[in-house]
């Protein structure tokens, strides 16, 4: 069954906190295309674990400062 990703992120906020880094700059630093950064920011693409660590490394923060995943309790209707 197709479902949207439940991974959320703070990449947009972190970019602005880091001298208003552009999406193109971030893409270049993680070896991806700008479209991929846009897709990740919009929650349309869940990056690989390696790319996720690369993004966190660019901002110098732990992984869970960049990406969040809802816990099972939060999902209970």
């Amino acid at each position: 069954m197709v479902r949207p990703t439940r991974v959320t992120n703070r990449i947009r906020t972190l970019r602005f906190e880091h001298s208003e880094m552009t999406q193109a700059d971030l893409a270049k630093r993680i070896g991806a295309t700008r479209q991929t950064v846009i897709a990740i920011e919009q929650g349309k693409y869940s990056p690989t674990l390696e790319m996720a660590f690369q993004i966190a490394s660019v901002f110098g923060v732990p992984l869970d400062d960049v990406f969040q995943y809802p816990t099972s309790l939060e999902n209970t209707p």
Binding site: P4, A32, T33, Y45
Partner: protein, 146 residues
């Protein structure tokens, strides 16, 4: 829009145009007579060959256009492009199997070669079309999480 997505759009358009051209040419050459008597071979090989050539030229053109704009971030394929490509291939593959099985059964039933060649070409075209649409949908809406 990155290089791979533009390439996918180009491939979609080229696939549709080339197969439609083939169908029109065969129907015209049949001139109302039996389709199996139409000289389809030259049109089939011609449209496939032309589609491959045009796809290569357009792909080079897209790459040059991006290079002229000096947009480094849009060059090449990354992990997401490769995942979308694999997803598209999986979606299109079913028609290749259907075409192969249909051609096998038609050969065993001794159908005319015209129909065997054409069912393979039709499934080949549908495979490319499905793959392109799946890839564009993934680029626009995201990869499905199964």
């Amino acid at each position: 829009m990155g290089f791979e997505e533009r390439n996918t759009w180009a491939f979609l358009v080229i696939s549709v145009v080339s197969y439609t051209t083939y169908v029109v040419l065969v129907l015209r050459s049949a001139a109302g007579g039996p389709l199996v008597d139409a000289p389809y071979q030259q049109y089939l090989l011609g449209t496939i060959g032309a589609a491959i050539l045009v796809a290569i030229v357009v792909s080079i053109g897209i790459r040059i256009a991006i290079a002229v704009r000096d947009d480094d971030a849009e060059q090449g394929a990354d992990q997401r492009d490769r995942e979308i490509s694999a997803f598209g291939s999986r979606m299109g593959q079913s028609f290749m199997v259907i075409g192969g099985v249909a051609a096998m059964l038609m050969a065993m039933a001794e159908w005319d070669w015209f129909w065997i060649a054409n069912v393979i070409y039709l499934c080949f075209a549908l495979s490319g079309l499905t793959e392109s649409i799946a890839r564009i949908a993934a680029y626009r809406g995201g990869l499905p999480q199964w």
